[in-house]
């Protein structure tokens, strides 16, 4: 199955070049050059992943990200010229799954995309964490009868934690197992996404019962057993 990737960047040359790299790695590509058309193209083409530049004419990548997240959990990888804290955190909080800092190389870019498109393991079965039930086949999370919509990344994060409820996961372990980073990366990715996940699955995000913080170590699922 060929994945379709939406590349949003206002720089023509870079857009074309990224397209060439992705095409040579077997992806199908669609393009948008500004923030307004990005959402339109997304609706029309329904891509499997969005590669989104933050600095865009029309509306910023952060706005686009927020708009897409309002109706879709499709993976979004931001491209940013600034590695600065504010931009990155703003993008992650708007719902981006991961980010790549320019200038990046092709291998790195493809690795990030591949990690986001990788399905959950074959052996993944139904899981229960607290009052929630997770179905990896349908990416569905239910609290009783109510369905909770999660993005694939959020589902993977929750699933990873719930699969081993006795284990404390450090941020580095989660970066490796959820985001697919082999080397040290930005632990803010974990922090921001745990917050987003909690805001969806916890009854009181200030006082979490499902995604617990283990001070000085990381996170673990559930509160009863440990």
């Amino acid at each position: 199955m060929t994945h379709r990737i939406l590349v949003v960047d206002d720089d023509d040359a870079l857009r074309e070049m990224v397209g060439l790299v992705l095409a040579s790695n077997g992806y199908e590509t669609v393009f948008a050059a500004d923030g307004i058309s990005a959402v339109e193209v997304f609706r029309a083409q329904n891509p499997d992943l969005v590669l989104l530049d933050i600095m865009l004419p029309g509306q910023s990548g952060i706005e686009v990200c927020r708009e897409i997240r309002a109706f879709s959990g499709t993976p979004i990888v931001m491209l940013t010229a600034k590695g600065d804290t504010d931009d990155v955190v703003a993008g992650l909080e708007a719902g981006a799954d991961d980010y790549v800092i320019k200038p990046h190389n092709g291998v790195e870019l493809v690795a990030r995309i591949r990690a986001r498109l990788r399905p959950l393991g074959e052996d993944a079965g139904m899981l229960q964490v607290g009052p929630l039930s997770l179905d990896p086949k349908t990416f569905e999370v239910r609290r009783g009868d109510a369905q909770i919509p999660l993005t694939p990344l959020e589902f993977k994060l929750l699933h990873t934690l719930a699969a081993k409820p006795q284990q404390v996961f450090s941020r580095e372990m989660l970066l490796d197992q959820v985001w697919g980073y082999q080397y040290k990366a930005d632990t803010r990715l974990v922090n921001v996404h745990v917050q987003r996940l909690r805001s969806k699955v916890e009854e009181d995000p200030e006082n979490p019962k499902i995604v617990m913080t283990v001070r000085g170590h990381g996170y673990r699922a559930g509160s009863d057993s440990l």
């Binding site: 040359a13 870079l14 010229a81 600034k82 200038p103 190389n105």
Partner: protein, 513 residues
């Protein structure tokens, strides 16, 4: 108190003025008081003498006119002399004594009549002797009298008196100077009061005059202080057209031009920093395209003929170098803009050093360079931004490898109660004193002619220094030509601690021999 005087010009001036004017007032008052007392006494004395003279004359006349032979009548006459003289005095009270001179054989029965309240102590024996010897004139002496139990000054005047039949007598008049003394005390009190009032007025005057002169100077000093603390809007009030107004005007002018220049420089450097940052960001997008394109070409170089393939390799290397340079430029512009925020976390410095060495290992191997590490056996915990410190150490290590002449590099880690330290030492070419001074300068290279093999950006040590300053740490260097170079990084254990000394010596022990 002494500090207060040293600090306050006003207090000093007033104190000095008061001291000097007090001295003057005391001198003048003393002189006035003395000469007044003297003139009072002299006036009274001459009056006293002339009264006595008249009294003596009148007694002699009385006695002569009486021409008595009867002793009893004579005694009665003599007795009447004293009261008549007591009341005939024009001024003040006086007492009279008519004493018979001693050593006269005849007529011992004559008594010596004296005034009622007269104490004989007011007619000293020395005076009586002087009177007997001075037959022609009046003799006097100042004495102390007791009036109503109070001592008052007085004068006793005496004259010899020869009375027929009765023999030699001495007439004494004792004058009381209490009124004169009263007058003198009154004048002295007035003088003292006047003097004190004068001194107080002078003190107030000098205070206000000094305030009016020192006040503007103090305000100017306070304003200058504020300006030097960065409060550039500070100005002085300009009132009047005197020299103080001139001072204020000049001061304000100076402050304004200073402020303008500082703001100009500030906006210039802000613009420049902004420019560097913008350029770096703007370069990133095309560089990304170039990089991706270069990779595609490089990845397919086996399909190219040798010259093109080599070109692809060169292109790839230089793109990497360009990227590194751009990254460093951006980092330093972030520091210049004050936009760097450290990500504080507790870390084991041993682990950070280990990570830095692991990442530099391939470079060290390619340069045939061994790295020896001396770590403490216990964890060296400190609050630090691990990413920045690891980068800093990587920079120090790659410098050591570049300049280390393939000799072993020594990395030491140490800690004391408040600080942790890493020392990176090479045994290579070393640097001269002049070179050492510039080692942290941007884009500076110890030897421009030297072949650049490792390919640093020239910003590594400048950034390292900023990273260290961000941690409130020290980055120090020791070097000696042909011996080697040693960089020592000292960091406080917690982010708000201050370092007093480093746990590791510089130069390191290995260099001391």
């Amino acid at each position: 108190m002494i500090r207060f005087f040293r600090r306050s010009l006003t207090a000093r001036t007033v104190a000095l003025t008061v001291l000097l004017s007090s001295l003057a007032v005391i001198l003048i008052g003393g002189f006035l008081s003395y000469s007044l007392a003297n003139s009072f006494y002299q006036d009274r004395l001459s009056q006293v003498l002339s009264e006595t003279e008249r009294a003596v004359g009148s007694v002699q006349n009385t006695v002569a006119a009486a021409s008595l032979n009867d002793e009893t009548a004579l005694q009665t006459l003599l007795n009447s002399v004293v009261p008549s003289l007591e009341i005939s005095g024009g001024t003040g009270s006086r007492q009279v004594a008519l004493l018979r001179s001693p050593d006269q054989g005849q007529l011992q029965l004559f008594q010596s009549p004296i005034s009622q309240n007269l104490e004989l102590s007011s007619i000293p024996e020395s005076l009586r002797e002087a009177v007997r010897q001075n037959a022609d004139s009046l003799t006097y002496t100042p004495v102390q009298l007791t009036v109503d139990g109070v001592l008052v000054p007085g004068i006793t005047v005496g004259a010899p008196l020869s009375i027929p039949v009765a023999g030699e007598f001495e007439l004494y008049l004792v004058f009381n100077l209490a009124a004169e003394e009263q007058a003198l005390i009154l004048v002295q009190n007035a003088l003292a009061f006047g003097g004190i009032a004068l001194i107080v007025m002078i003190a107030l005057l000098s205070y206000f005059v000094t305030r009016s002169l020192v006040g503007p100077v103090e305000r100017a000093a306070a304003a200058a202080q504020l300006i030097s603390e960065g409060n550039l809007d500070q100005r002085l009030a300009e009132r009047g057209e005197d020299v103080m107004a001139l001072l204020s005007k000049s001061f304000n002018k100076m402050a304004a031009s200073l402020q303008q220049q500082i703001q100009q420089l500030d906006s210039l450097s802000r613009m420049q920093r902004r420019f560097v940052s913008d350029v770096s960001h703007e370069l990133r997008t095309p560089l990304t395209t170039i990089k991706l394109a270069g990779e595609v070409i490089f990845g397919n170089r086996s399909k190219l003929d040798p010259a093109l393939a080599r070109s692809a390799e060169l292109l790839q290397d230089q793109i990497d170098r360009f990227e590194k340079l751009l990254g460093d430029l951006l980092e330093i512009s972030r520091y210049d803009a004050g936009a760097v925020v450290a990500e504080w976390e507790q870390h084991d410095l041993n682990a950070v050093v280990g990570a830095a060495i692991a990442s530099i290992e391939p470079l060290a191997k390619s340069k045939n360079c061994e790295i020896f590490v001396e770590l403490p056996s216990t964890p060296v915990r400190a609050e630090l931004d691990a990413k920045r410190i690891e980068r800093l150490l990587r920079n120090l290590l790659s410098n050591a490898i570049e300049h280390g002449e393939e000799k072993p590099i020594i990395v030491e880690v140490g800690q004391n109660s408040q600080a942790v330290a890493v020392c990176v030492t090479d045994q290579g070419v070393g640097m001269t004193r002049a070179q050492l001074e510039r080692v942290f300068d941007r884009f500076w290279r110890a030897d421009p002619a030297r072949q650049r093999s490792v390919g640093g950006t020239g910003l590594g040590l400048a950034i390292a220094r900023e990273d260290s300053a961000l941690h409130r740490g020290w980055l120090q260097v020791w070097s000696k030509p042909k011996r080697g170079t040693s960089f020592r990084l000292t960091l406080p254990k917690s982010r708000d601690a201050v370092i007093a000394n480093s746990p590791l010596p510089l130069p390191p022990r290995s260099m001391e021999a």
